[in-house]
Symmetry: D2
Subunit: 362 residues, 4 copies
């Protein structure tokens, strides 16, 4: 029930299966009067779409969207915004052999247990195609945050064992969009691209890490004690297909540190309280402190491989399976805009929640 | 607003500040007729309370609880269960010097921005004392899961750089409760204890990792696409004070693996579909697959240290601060029952959600 | 924000404006495997659509629907069901004169205050056209309740001062659908029809009352203390356009009764606890008791009249307004399926909520 | 599940049974810095408490409250406010005879079906004692609305067939608190009091109506399409024990009117859009229009009568029951502050919801 909804005041519900008529999302909580920049939305969708480069799935999905409601004369009315994104490239017969087969590490088995009747084609509702809806909603969220000078930038920081260890403050983040793996360090990007091509040649897949930076959020957003910013970001990220881990600020590395090293000392800089270091990742007690928010998300190697695998079918028989179709050898290049979108959705929700209780200007 | 509530059908709201009259929790969604074992609840609270060993805070809090509603003749009535846990050890004057001071990496500053009027004593609402309420609610949740043969066991798997790398399947998890650091490997436990004592002597603190294993959950729990089991577990864990990272199944290590290595092959074992490996951590497509669920949570070094630190006050002046009071040198030994409690709360909520849509027995 | 969502476990979000591309609804919480009878859905939509008789609006809206997601091979998959209902009869230029005019007793003024930018055409989001989405969702809900032998039947019990005072138990409720005003007493139906035609001739409108009967609900549904069945039914009904009052069981008449007359005495009938009278309307303490649930809803005369009216525009100038278009002289004949739909949605939600906590068969 | 929570941003959860240790409420969403006037709270609780006059129950409940959390130095901190109201007058043995008896028109039977284990004493959770928690929360809500010049005033407008038909605009509403029945027309109040005394002498009970006026709400509050102000008010009122009907503005009387009579014409008065009449009851399209909001609530005669009644017990045997204890002959005098409290809670919730999306001052 109701697991398809996310957010409290900026609320989205996504719908649609990968091989149904279309997928889409309804967004409730968009301020009336917001200019809806369709070019920007398309730009964001294009960053996620398959077929965009040599290291992504070669499927052709143009992700053309149609806004059905909530926008009039290019501006939001305050009513729910609904969008449809057509499923163009569907050859349902491609999936007949999967009707009663449980692909390893896919959701086929769990869905078949949970749902007596399911749409098995291309993963149905479990397909990563659903994330296009999130990117649309994220684009709307970014338009709300943009006038506040809040920017959200994600990039690929690891593919397999090729890691970019440079501190994000020493990187030109804009560089990430200039290469197909979306890593802001050109030299490392090339290595990552080579690794992915290699893996692809073997019909195999590989995992990766995405780092995300949110700049410009003022102090005071977030709600104790369960709806801490990091808790909501974490849920948002872990709801993305193939995500296996989340860490913010100093993350797992904090374990190795002493309190005396880890503590972020407050100083007064130009009449503004700030911290010298930022191991806290911009969040203290679940509430933003005005510093950069940063976190990373680990993604597993995609389950669909172009190799023979053993598995079971719904009769419990052992069978052999051979991956078909056009799939990604590594999820992270296309997951960058998804991570950004979910981050934007969380921050916009907390922005509205903050507004409801902010009496500071009265 | 409303950030103090957690859960959909098994719903808790915690309340209370560390130095107010008492803290507590209201739990809505407890099945009528459930036997409430007060001894077990006290046992769980004792696992969390300070003063329990040489490596925890020496504060004396007995965490005596009083059930106010929802229980009649030792059984749940189905009405909300409310509990109060008295704050016994309050010396508010201890905190006068913190009234206008922003302790490094604490919530003092962010709370002061968010809340024009706040209770600064001992962290107030931001204090880890709030987690006693979670442990109470987790004890109720465990009583609901127990008849289903579901067990939830957490243990300390890392303190600083001392890590227990043995697979949990090769450990006797029950051993964890036999030592004060709660690590099931006795030799490593001793090293951890020594490290914590050493750190304590320096007036410093250190981080750690907790691993949690959930056994016995049948296939089919969890809700696509946002309320995936791992997403809800992640939010639950990241809402705990000092948590910095979450990873389930193969977690961040999955990044280094190829799909062909990582995929969990389905086999038929005694007429039950199972997997040979379990990199999926018992969850596929956000839904349980009947295998063990396991995850880990990283905790930073606690911010309160017994050393001199520079910081700023609310006038923006640089001041020097010296930690006072009796604090934990490492959070993980006492966080073990908190991790278990939050896991139990998430699983119980999903159990009730599963029930609402499970027509398999009709 | 988020006011477009209704329900806890059977959750709907409606979207769309009267003169946008289409309206629609997403329904989360439909059991997988449910057969989706499209003929029945169309039948329900036809009961609501304009142009169906001489006493309704003569607008032509065929309310053809297209299911976008959640249904595969004619059965629900358990994923969100999304439907689009095209807006066919839109002549937006018809509404140019209303762009800056506040029609009396319409939502033009309040929307213009709340939303800096709005879609003024035909009421936009405030239009009763939105109720087609509710009727669709109600049809799905009825399909869930149907196998439980639960029936929901509404009828027109008053138009202006022409009231049907016969107890519903003495009526053949099925008769209601045999005449265009939907009143099960043929003689009174004719009087009502005449009255509406008369009113229409004057270019005026008139109010009415709808009575609704829910049969077959077992004892035990409903949640104390806020989510009482009558509270949720009341909210559902009062959210319908033009609804002004709600009363269940003995309703406002109970005020005139003494407790000794009003109390429903329990008796044992064929080994089942039942009540002799049913002033309680099938609900006691907010929970169903197994007797018929019945309630009534008052509807005001529709605001759009074909007469000259004075009003103000957005500059605060007094202007004269003349109703245009094809509107209903009385809302109740077409509101009958809407009342049934909202009742079905409420009862289905409580059915799922009941299931989550019902351990009686274990 | 979770039926004990009310509100979105101003959220309350009530708990406790009539004969448990205490009842209470947690309120999440109180602005930090709000002065908490305990005298005012006590004043409100006293208006509801039994034993206050010759025409209410003679039970002695002082309704002394103790704030447990969320208030520091007499001001709200922004954390959840929790209160306990002790149950002082409990003689549980008074209720032994009711353990297995289903009192007519009480919740005994429905609770016994829903909850395998229940607290039968004095109605347990179903007791109207729960409404003291609502009055507490309502007092907090009034303190939030008060600086906005919003006032909420309810009064008794009918007892049995004795009705006050004067328009509320022609009454001195403050007069209501000057007599024990809370009717602002002194002559009619006396008749009502006599009627209640008479009924009480017979050991019987009688119903009544409460009218409530909300003044000072600006235009623009309320959320289309389900969370209309009237829908949320209606749910709030219908969740009160013994409430049987709700109507706002012209209510059920609107049925008799023509559109040309009913429409509220907009005029420009002192550069403010206002309406000449107010049949809309201050709400159009679910959103406030700046005029007075008014509504009425019908209450049935209380089920507990001091007369012999036949009923059934849990074995299905017919038994005879004689009311015991000290009960109200008519609920409405004490329900006046409850109606006000629920109205204040709804309006405060919508105030915060409005704030989150109000960009008009930016």
């Amino acid at each position: 029930m109701a697991g398809n909804t996310f957010g409290v005041l900026f609320k989205i519900i996504t719908f649609g299966e990968s091989h149904g008529k279309s997928i889409g999302v309804v967004i409730d909580g968009v301020p009336s009067g917001l200019f809806i920049d369709e070019d920007f939305i398309q730009h964001e969708l294009n960053r996620r779409k398959p077929g965009q480069s040599a290291i992504t799935s070669q499927r052709k999905e143009d992700d053309v969207f149609e806004i059905i409601s909530g926008v009039y004369n290019q501006k939001a009315t305050g009513a729910p915004i609904t969008v449809l994104i057509q499923n163009k490239d569907d050859k349902p017969s491609d999936y007949d052999h999967l009707k009663d087969t449980f692909r390893p590490s896919h959701a086929d088995y769990t869905y078949s247990v949970k749902y007596p009747h399911r749409d098995h084609r291309g993963g149905g509702r479990a397909s990563a195609r659903e994330t296009a809806s999130r990117v649309f909603a994220g684009a709307i969220a970014k338009m709300i945050l943009n006038p506040l000078q809040i920017t959200i930038t994600a990039y690929v920081s690891q593919v397999g064992d090729i890691a970019l260890n440079t501190d994000y403050r020493d990187l030109n983040l804009l560089e990430a969009e200039n290469n197909i793996v979306r890593c802001p360090d050109v030299a490392i990007a090339e290595k990552m691209i080579d690794r992915i091509k290699e893996i692809k040649k073997d019909g195999d897949t590989i995992g990766g890490v995405i780092t995300c930076i949110i700049k410009g959020v003022p102090a005071g957003w977030g709600e104790p004690v369960f709806d801490k910013i990091q808790a909501d970001l974490s849920k948002a990220m872990m709801s993305i297909n193939a995500a296996k881990g989340f860490a913010y600020g100093s993350g797992f590395d904090s374990v190795l540190m002493k309190g005396s090293e880890h503590n972020d000392v407050f100083i007064n800089k130009d009449n503004k309280i700030t911290t010298i270091t930022n191991h806290s990742g911009g969040i203290q007690g679940g509430i933003t402190n005005g510093e950069d928010i940063y976190f990373k998300v680990a993604f597993k190697p995609i389950a669909t491989i172009m190799q023979k695998q053993q598995t079971a079918n719904d009769k419990g028989e052992t069978i052999e399976l051979m991956g078909k179709g056009r799939h990604d050898p590594c999820v992270v290049p296309r997951a960058v805009p998804i991570v950004e979108a979910m981050a934007a959705i969380v921050m916009t929700d907390h922005y509205l929640r903050f507004r409801s209780m902010d009496f500071s200007t009265e």
